[in-house]
Subunit: 287 residues, 2 copies
């Protein structure tokens, strides 16, 4: 069994992901505390033994006794929270996060952070079409990927520690990327796909279509139930990469449209063969 030595974990932001972290860590035996401005979330989590204790305020006691802080906040709140509270941090503390964009956060945080603390970013690529600690579920990590996002400022020890955290949480695959690499990859595999799903649901008044759909439409639009505050923030925070990937996709989609317009059966089949081969490899790698 892998382990991280620190025993008091403080989770800031007890939503779906924060709550799922709490469940996973508490189950293994860590002492887990949480700060969330919603009293219902804290009450629920204490009553259901998801956390040991919690507060709706930036409680100095909870912050100053934490060995590890996990920031499960919206991207724009990460830096501010650290600025406001780092005077309370235990020396040598390790801080990580769960946000879906990195370039816009990591440098800023590492620039303002106390010299005796270390911030090592991570992106747990798991979620549900529901929010809140009440819907948290650490089994969503089981088949999912966890990306440690490291910079030159990170120590080898912190990178290793963060990888260990990912494995402890139960993620299937843990990898390491730079903030730039992370944001480019995420723009493609996550943000672009959400733009597609939303477009499919909004391009036509298709409410009645449920009667005529196969699995394909259902699969492609599952993620169209979307938290608009979080996702719009993620899109704008990664605007440049996302727009680039959207263009890449549009070009290819229009190329396929052209092949159909021109009755180019061989060209279309060639695309389908490539798509099939790549997706098959994908399935294979998964297993």
């Amino acid at each position: 069994m892998e382990w991280i030595n620190e025993s008091r974990v403080l989770i800031v932001g007890l939503g779906l992901i924060g709550g799922s972290y709490a469940k996973a860590l508490k189950r293994i035996g860590y002492n887990v505390y949480a700060i969330d401005k919603d009293p219902n979330s804290i009450d629920y989590a204490i009553k259901n033994e998801i956390i040991d204790d919690g507060s709706t305020e930036a409680d100095p006691e909870l912050i100053s006794t934490a060995d590890v802080i996990i920031l499960a906040l919206y991207p724009k709140d990460v830096c501010a929270w650290i600025l406001n509270n780092q005077h309370l941090f235990k020396p040598g503390i390790r801080i990580t996060d769960v946000t879906g964009v990195k370039s816009c956060i990591v440098d800023d945080v590492q620039n303002i952070l106390r010299a005796d603390a270390e911030f090592i970013a991570a992106h747990p690529m798991a979620g549900r079409e529901l929010s809140g600690v009440q819907n948290s579920d650490d089994t969503i990590f089981k088949d999912a990927n966890y990306i440690v996002v490291a910079t030159d400022k990170n120590t080898e020890a912190a990178v290793e520690w963060c990888k260990r955290l990912g494995r402890i949480l139960g993620f299937r695959r843990v990898s390491v990327l730079s903030p730039k690499e992370h944001d480019r990859v995420i723009a493609f595999v996550s943000q672009l796909t959400h733009c597609i799903a939303v477009s499919l649901m909004t391009c036509t008044d298709n409410e009645h279509l449920v009667e005529y759909t196969g699995d394909s439409f259902r699969d492609l639009t599952r993620i169209a139930r979307i938290n608009e505050n979080m996702w719009s923030e993620l899109f704008f925070a990664n605007k440049e990469s996302l727009l680039k990937e959207m263009d890449l996709f549009i070009n290819e989609f229009c190329r396929i449209k052209e092949l159909i317009e021109q009755d180019d059966a061989e060209g279309l089949k060639e695309k389908m063969r490539l798509s099939t081969a790549r997706r098959a490899l994908f399935d294979k790698k998964k297993n």
Copy 2:
């Protein structure tokens, strides 16, 4: 228990769907026969008791004794098969199909068909990313939709019969559309989504991306493993409708891109709220 009275069912084309029909009907107690040019498919199906008997030829005995014929062929082969074999049909026979496009088939078939036979088209909206009778599985019908595609030439009795067949096969929802309506709906919910999935896999060399994907990319590309012969035929057979739906989608996708470019957070959130509301309704209707 609903029932169709005819007891000898002949399935022409014993692939994934033909085989799944055979399994469902055999289980209920029908005598099921099949014609398929591939001897391995026929042998496999007989050995595994998926059919009672079969042939690799248009066997006059099998055809002339059938009470019902189900054509599980590629669209372009449907008309030719009927033309070549209808002299053998039992008077009063009912014929249905499983093809994914209808306008290009139904009129032609109904025009050439013997006056004492009736063709009533149907589209079982189920499938797998595998082909062949060896992969057939009638549980794929359980959560799926079945569309009866009727014209003015069809009798009320045949429409009712075909709806009953859909329910007997185990489909969750059975509905009736005209060929034109069917093809427009299918262009959107099925063909467009396959174009998107293929584009996502071919727009960039993304083989390594499996390490960094969440469920969203996996969901959106599941159907990118595609039978290029069947799907290119379906696309071209429904070209006009498909191109229209592709344009509709591109326009909306570009509109969302514009909102991001222009930092229009409120406009983007509005799209996401609409998408969420529609998809939620969709989930609700499903259950």
